[in-house]
């Protein structure tokens, strides 16, 4: 096949230098494709509907699964009669706790192992039985035909009451999952030396994960090999969990997740539904599709736990923070799931402070277990800390931006003062404030409020650090260069909607000189693609992009070696130019890549890249600051967010379009926390979930978010972090949003809204 030069974006100029064998790739000083605004490589598939998500999978002879779930938050199953369901039309398999194939199977929450079918149900939605039938309707009819007798037991819904002596116990051991204490310096002493001390209690609501695609899978057996199409953030994580539960070798469990419709942390792991689908499929000897309903996902597959936080902070007149004393309670739900996990991280590490005490108590309640939710714990802690920073600023008569700039740490205090590879916290705040027009906006809002009674204005800001975001090993990526010069990129990572495939195509394109759209990507398949950890923790880009780069470099090294034979010059003398390989000492000596003999003969060169280690003794973290301006209708409590700006230091921007997308998406999600979303349990009567649909569970709509959103990347070269210099972005972008809104609300109303979400109900309760 002849070489098609249109696949190259540059010809006759070198792509980045190929490091000698054994040497690490150097930092890109400049880039050609990376950092540009490049549309998604799979945009057509996603928009046209051609992309096949797990929900779209249809296999020959496929049948449908449905799950019987406990309708009570706490109950013991006295009797389960599945006989009527077995006789229903279309039913091909039914499993429950007493079925031989479910005997001894366990499901783990952190380290807590529970039976797959537990007659002691500790949350509404706990699994009791599962059915597979020819149609979804038949499966649900069969589920409804199962007769259950429950002993309904007392429950506890409120995490603040979970540790009361009288509270019903979720587990024999009591309702404390665990507690944690962190101490640096002496918080009491620090606070006693402050000129201003503020103390406040803050509450954030339980939020429910609402990805567009529901949780679910299709399971199919071929002999003793199981294939699962799962809507997942990580196919290898699903493979590992399922092989463990079903006691199968990893090699026999293939998990595929090419497209998936969002997870936000709730799809880092499979669910019981995945195991049930596999068991039903084996029993029925047919593929089983098991896609949960929205109501089921709201009950069973995770949430951001509600938190109650007490924070006491002190500062000197010059703005020096002298002490932070923080305590927090939150519910894991019915099983251990990190009810207070990372809530205190902002307090520990965001601002310079020598005296810090953080304590947390994670408790059980009778409700669905939590799962990681975009920046777990961080927006909650930010809700407290960032409001308190503003309170302190007011007390000492300092601008909130100034106070924060007074307290920028140069090292990660919570990690024993190790340095960050880079910290853009100061620039995020300074440049963000500058571009937002902070001082002018504050002045304008104050003037507006002097002359307007009905509608008040406010501006507010918040800053953040994300605990991880540096990525790291392990990761493996393979790149195949075909004899016509085209390229195939093979990686295990999922693209959870963030644009991972597009970003990785750009990285490979940058190194190989090939246009990104001609790079074919194979990904997220444990049967055919390389190992990757799940896409979570904002680590996919910093983990996979250096790995992709390493794989591309490996391809180039091999091609140079091969071309050296053709040109009869040492490989070290050759320069890779995308379309051609050229001798550095004699430009007469050149060969088109597609003419390289061994490539022609072999048909393909495969380069393999591994993710190298992170720098020792340093921490890689993204930082950010967000600014907002809003209006409050004092009479009606309605809030209009007028504009938002997100200034984020996530190292190098690899694709400006996907980057801005994350910033805007994070702000939208933060607006949900700040203004609209909350889980409501019927705590006083039944403990059941009240808001289980999209009307009652209020995600922000297009009219709740401002059209005026600005993304301001703070790009700081970070060659130490990794060889692309990228840090994570997807989570930090939602950390300070709600707190920035609360601070703006304070300026507008002079009321501290300490309980989120601040909807008109909350506003009218306080004004």
């Amino acid at each position: 096949m002849a070489q098609d030069d249109s696949i190259y974006y540059r010809q006759g100029l070198p792509v980045p230098e190929t490091p000698e064998p054994g040497r690490d790739a150097g930092f890109w000083e400049t880039t050609d494709i990376v950092g540009k605004r490049v549309a998604r490589v799979d945009g057509y598939e996603r928009l046209s509907g051609a992309a096949v998500y797990p929900s779209d999978i249809k296999l020959p002879n496929m049948i449908y699964g449905a799950i019987l779930r406990c309708p009570h938050p706490h109950a013991r199953v006295k009797k389960l009669n599945t006989a009527p369901a077995r006789k229903m039309p279309g039913v091909r398999a039914l499993i429950s706790g007493d079925a031989p194939e479910s005997g001894g199977l366990q499901w783990k929450y952190d380290d807590y192992a529970a039976p797959l079918f537990d007659p002691h149900c500790r949350f509404e939605g706990e699994v009791l039985a599962a059915v597979a039938a020819d149609t979804r309707y038949q499966a649900w009819d069969a589920v409804r035909a199962i007769k259950v007798e429950y002993e309904v037991l007392p429950y506890v819904s409120d995490h603040d009451q979970a540790l009361d002596d009288k509270a019903p116990r979720v587990h024999e051991s009591g309702n404390l999952v665990g507690s944690d204490e962190y101490i640096r310096g002496d918080a009491d002493k620090g606070l006693s030396r402050a000129d201003a001390v503020v103390e406040q209690t803050y509450q954030t609501p339980c939020e429910l994960h609402t990805p567009m695609e529901l949780h679910g899978c299709v399971a199919n057996w071929d002999g003793d090999r199981l294939t699962i199409w799962e809507s997942s953030q990580g196919v290898y994580a699903v493979q590992s969990r399922i092989s463990e539960v079903l006691e199968m070798p990893l090699s026999k469990v293939r998990v595929i997740g090419h497209y998936m419709g969002g997870g936000f942390g709730s799809k880092l792991q499979p669910g019981k539904y995945t195991v049930l689908a596999a068991l039903l499929a084996r029993k029925a000897a047919r593929p089983v599709k098991m896609i949960l309903t929205r109501e089921e996902t709201y009950l069973c597959v995770g949430n951001r736990p509600a938190n109650t936080m007490r924070l006491k902070a002190g500062a000197r007149k010059d703005g020096t923070l002298t002490g932070l004393d923080f305590a927090c309670t939150g519910p894991s739900g019915a099983y251990p799931a990190g009810g207070t996990s990372l809530v205190d991280w902002q307090i520990r590490d965001l601002y310079q402070c020598d005296n810090v005490r953080c304590s947390s108590r994670d408790v059980y309640i009778h409700a669905g277990p939590a799962r990681p939710f975009r920046a777990p714990g961080h927006p909650q802690g930010s809700w407290a800390l960032e409001q308190m920073m503003d309170d302190l600023a007011e007390k000492i008569g300092m601008d909130p931006v100034e106070l924060r700039l007074k307290n920028i740490p140069e090292v990660s205090q919570a990690r024993g003062n190790i340095p960050y590879t880079t910290t853009g916290l100061r620039q995020c705040i300074e440049k963000g404030a500058e571009q937002f027009g902070w001082k002018a906006a504050v002045k304008k809002a104050r003037e507006h409020n002097r002359s307007n009674r009905a509608v008040k204005r406010g501006v507010g800001m918040g800053a953040c650090v994300w605990i991880v975001g540096g990525g790291g090993p392990p990761a493996t990526v393979a790149i195949k260069l075909f004899r016509d010069g085209s390229v195939n990129l093979n990686m295990g990572a999922s693209d959870i909607g963030t644009g991972t495939k597009t970003v990785m195509a750009l990285v490979a394109a940058e190194e190989l000189g090939i246009r990104p759209e001609v790079i074919q990507i194979e990904h997220a398949d444990t049967g055919t693609t390389q190992y990757a950890t799940p896409s979570g923790g904002s680590k996919t880009v910093p983990t996979e992009s250096p790995t992709v780069r390493n794989a591309a470099i490996d391809v180039k090294r091999q091609v140079l070696e091969m071309a050296a034979e053709d040109l009869d010059v040492p490989a070290a003398d050759l320069v890779y130019q995308g379309a051609e390989v050229v001798s550095g000492s004699n430009s007469e000596k050149r060969i088109r890549v597609t003419e390289v003999s061994r490539l022609k003969k072999r048909g393909v060169v495969m380069g393999v890249g591994y993710r190298g280690p992170n720098p020792e003794g340093k921490s890689v973290n993204p930082f950010g600051a967000q600014f907002c301006e809003l209006e409050v209708n004092i009479g009606t409590g309605e809030v209009s967010i007028l504009r938002f700006l997100g200034a984020h230091d996530s190292g190098r921007v690899l694709d400006r379009l996907t980057y801005d997308n994350q910033v805007f998406g994070g702000i939208v999600m933060g607006i949900g926390l700040g203004l609209t979303e909350f889980r409501q349990l019927d705590a006083k009567q039944t403990g059941k979930l009240c808001n289980r649909n999209w009307h009652d569970y209020k995600l922000p709509t297009a009219l709740d978010v401002p059209a005026d959103m600005v993304s301001l990347p703070i790009e700081i070269d970070d060659p130490e972090a990794n060889n692309t210099g990228a840090k994570g972005l997807g989570e930090p972008v939602t950390i300070p949003t709600a707190a920035a809104i609360a601070n703006a609300l304070y300026m507008a109303t002079s009321v501290r809204f300490t309980r989120a979400p601040v909807n008109p109900i909350e506003i009218r309760r306080h004004l």
Partner: protein
């Protein structure tokens, strides 16, 4: 999952009435509420009777006496965008434009909007509540921040979800209804049923009765109408508090008024106390202050929704101030 049901699409009103009279029949106009109700299993339906083939139920036209007649199947979008509606009854156009979301407004109909089932999360959820034939109202002692502050008599504390009903009631609209006993007319303000009369139904319509058209009287030359709605989020949400005004002005004085509230009660709630305060008066600060107090007269808020009283005060102040401003 939807239950099993048969589907008919009669071509005459007479056939429609016959089908709809059967036990277990439900009318299908836009279906935006019906489908959800079926899926959630809150009513027993085995026959769905489509209205879509009934030509008489479409269209928005001026009447001979300068009023307006709107087909029950006119979509909410059509009502919101119709120039006649916008010109003669701006309050109705506003009410329609505040309904739900663009997609739902394109599909939902005016007749259907008047006949919506309540949005109480207990009624819609797995709770066998009073309105579904159970023996208690869960919202009363439960989570009722979105619930009624008027007219519930502590029996059932739903709020009526319609945004168009309060405006139509304020404008004195009448419904043409076909039924087994022939045709009749019902004033919109008499359509809805408070819990004390019957907690199992939302409207006075009997089996087989079908709203065919909504008729609006000729607007008085000095008529000013408006609708204002406050909600927990800006789109796709029902009213926390809303006010529909139809004021006939005599210069800058209010000659006659009809004031209906949404998000207030199990039915569109007429606030005669506000009407009494503003009658014959200028909408100045003093009148508005009195209207603020009047709007919450006789309210019976629950512990979790007393905020609504402040909200209604805020809304009536804003709306009357806007009405009082010279154009």
């Amino acid at each position: 999952m939807l239950p099993s049901f048969s589907y008919v699409r009669p071509e005459t009103v007479k056939d429609t009435v016959k089908h709809a009279s059967a036990r277990g029949a439900a009318l299908h106009a836009g279906g935006t509420d019906l489908i959800g109700c079926l899926r959630e299993g809150i009513m027993d339906v085995d026959k769905v009777v489509s209205l879509s083939a009934l030509a008489d139920l479409y269209g928005i036209r001026e009447t001979a006496d300068d009023g307006l007649t709107i087909g029950a199947l006119a979509t909410i979008t059509e009502v919101a965008e119709n120039p006649l509606v916008r010109n003669k009854y701006p309050g109705l156009a506003q009410g329609a434009s505040e309904v739900a979301s663009p997609q739902l407004r394109n599909q939902g109909t005016l007749g259907g909007n008047l006949c919506q089932k309540p949005r109480c999360w207990y009624y819609r959820g797995e709770f066998h509540c009073l309105r579904k034939g159970g023996d208690m109202c869960y919202a009363l002692a439960g989570e009722h921040q979105f619930h009624a502050v008027f007219g519930h008599d502590r029996i059932c504390v739903i709020t009526h979800p319609s945004d168009t009903a309060p405006v139509l009631a304020a404008l004195g609209a009448k419904l043409r209804v076909a039924g087994p006993d022939g045709g009749k007319t019902i004033a919109v303000e008499n359509l809805h049923v408070p819990p004390r009369d019957n907690v199992l139904t939302e409207t006075v319509l009997g089996p087989g009765e079908v709203i065919t058209r909504i008729d609006l009287p000729r607007p008085a030359a000095n008529l000013k109408s408006s609708y204002r709605k406050v909600r927990a989020r800006r789109s796709w949400d029902f009213a926390l508090a809303g006010v529909a005004l139809a004021l006939e002005m005599d210069g800058d004085r209010v000659e006659n008024s009809r004031v209906f509230l949404s998000g207030a009660a199990p039915i569109p709630w007429r606030s005669r106390s506000v009407e009494n305060v503003i009658r014959g008066r200028r909408l100045d600060d003093k009148t508005i202050a009195e209207a603020r107090a009047a709007i919450v007269e006789n309210a019976d808020p629950l512990p979790g929704n007393t905020y609504k009283l402040e909200l209604f005060k805020g809304v009536i102040e804003e709306e009357l101030s806007a009405m009082g401003r010279p154009e």
